[in-house]
Amino acid sequence: MNRSDDLDLLSDYLDGELTPTREEIVRLRLDEETELSKLYDRLRSMSDDTRAFFDAEERKMPDVATNQEDFIRTTLAGESLTGSLGARSGIRWKATAAAVVVIAVVVTGFVIRENEVRARRFKDAVEAALEPKHFVTIQIARPSLLPGRRPPVNLLYGRGGRWVIEAQDRLFVPPAFTPNRRGGLIRHRGKRIHFGSDGSVAWLWLEGSEVVRVMKLDGPVPIVSFLRSFLDEDPSGRQATPLLNWAKVQDVLEGVRSGVLEYRRVGTETIDNQRLDRYDVTLENRATARVWISTQDAAVRRVKIGLLDLRFDEPREVPEDPVFHWSSRAPADVRVIDVTRD
């Protein structure tokens, strides 16, 4: 066991998060291994210092009693203000929308008589300008893979082709975003993130990271989401390029989108003490993939597509990539109405 593993173990030991058996093992090792014992002393000392620091920081904070009345009044006033603003905004929006629709209908009627093609384009433009249109709905779920635990994330587009991501009633506008033939491309801090969805399956892929997020939203197999590195098991041990992997994933996704991809349960297997249902995935009667799904939590544990063999050992940390992070952490209580903001 290396120093890093030891540190993790000692950290859990310090916090009392080990099982009694493991705790006993650590205790014995601490008695016998001087280096480990020193490491533990340092860790405990740092933990004590951190705690003392946090305690001191809290003591420095103001007591609410000094401005409690103001604070409460502001908070409750904020409630009333937000409510009335929301109501007013709603009324105003509806009135504006109604007016625009009336104008659109009148103008459209007029234009139809003049030029049917031009009128249709105009009507489309008016509709697009009125409100964002739902394009796809995807489910962002972190690797817990539990259905229903994460709220849906909607991709919307509004006026002028502006793209917006909606999560739990909160709207996020990516800094740079251009749809491409694969679905969409988000450029974020120099990174390129592809996404796509047709409402039944969706994926997100961070170029260069070899991390792909694929989500199956419905269908006969309860795949909710998985997120793992796509690594080829090629005999040379060489890691395949992301683009190659991407092409393979695309093949399967194409099948799902076109509706000809089928899942067939072919048996149950026990792998690493886990009971898994195995499904064969066929595209136009040709086997393309095998999927192993845990019977316990309906989580995908392994997917094999040709040389591509994806094994998912739960659980795993959320990736560093921030887009996934904040979209899955969107607050439940915030509603932003204006989607055309920057």
């Binding site: 916090d15 946090f54 001191a56 009044r73 409750l76 974020h188 990174k191 904040w326 952490r329």
Partner: protein, 205 residues
């Protein structure tokens, strides 16, 4: 006299009972809830966003959000768990907002070459305040500031609140494994950054 009795009565209620009885008409009930949790909430947010002024705004927004959605919340765990969850989300949004604004111009040049992550702390310590602190304490503050906000939040809940990992996971809407990793990483980074002090056995705070 009536007011005193009223306040005494409120202190006997649990957090959830206070939330349930809160209304726009009677500020005292919600006020009691705020009074109980204000200080540690501001301290928590200050740690996560690194700025006391913003922390107070966030706490106010957090309480407002909870107040507005009070009918939707039901007692499932400790009230603090809910509060920390709401606050952390707001903190991360705030960091994201500031980070986006500050980094839009650098969008093209940053290619994720190991530089600090998207949620990197944007705190800017007050030099005069820092000068007053002992060197070790200032180093600890700086080292904590370099952690990711979630790591800091998890560490706060562990070290300061003494919460078990599962409660931290509930509060931060994370899995148990994530919380473990966050705490491991936070401690490892602190150990690395503060190695000279720790090895000399100097007190940091």
């Amino acid at each position: 006299m009536t007011t005193v009795l009223r306040i005494d009565h409120l202190t006997e209620l649990s957090d959830w009972e206070l939330l349930e009885r809160s209304s726009s008409e009677d500020a005292s009930v919600f006020g009691e809830l705020v009074r109980r949790h204000y200080r540690h909430s501001v301290a928590f947010c200050t740690q996560v966003v690194g700025d006391h002024g913003h922390a107070e705004d966030i706490v106010q927004r957090g309480f407002l959000n909870i107040f507005r959605a009070r009918d939707r919340y039901h007692e499932k765990a400790r009230f603090k768990t809910l509060l920390y969850r709401v606050l952390l989300n707001l903190c991360i949004n705030e960091i994201h907002r500031r980070s986006s604004a500050a980094q839009l111009s650098a969008l093209a040049s940053d290619d994720g070459d190991g530089s600090p992550g998207f949620l990197e702390d944007v705190r800017s310590p007050d030099p005069s305040a820092q000068a007053e602190e002992a060197e070790g304490r200032a180093l600890l503050r700086e080292a904590l500031g370099r952690l990711r906000p979630e790591h800091r939040a998890a560490l706060w809940l562990r070290e300061h609140e003494g919460l078990p990992y599962q409660d931290i996971a509930d509060a931060l809407e994370a899995s148990l494994a994530e919380v473990k990793i966050w705490i491991h990483r936070a401690r490892k980074k602190l150990m690395e950054m503060l190695r000279p002090y720790i090895e000399r056995g100097d007190a940091l705070s």
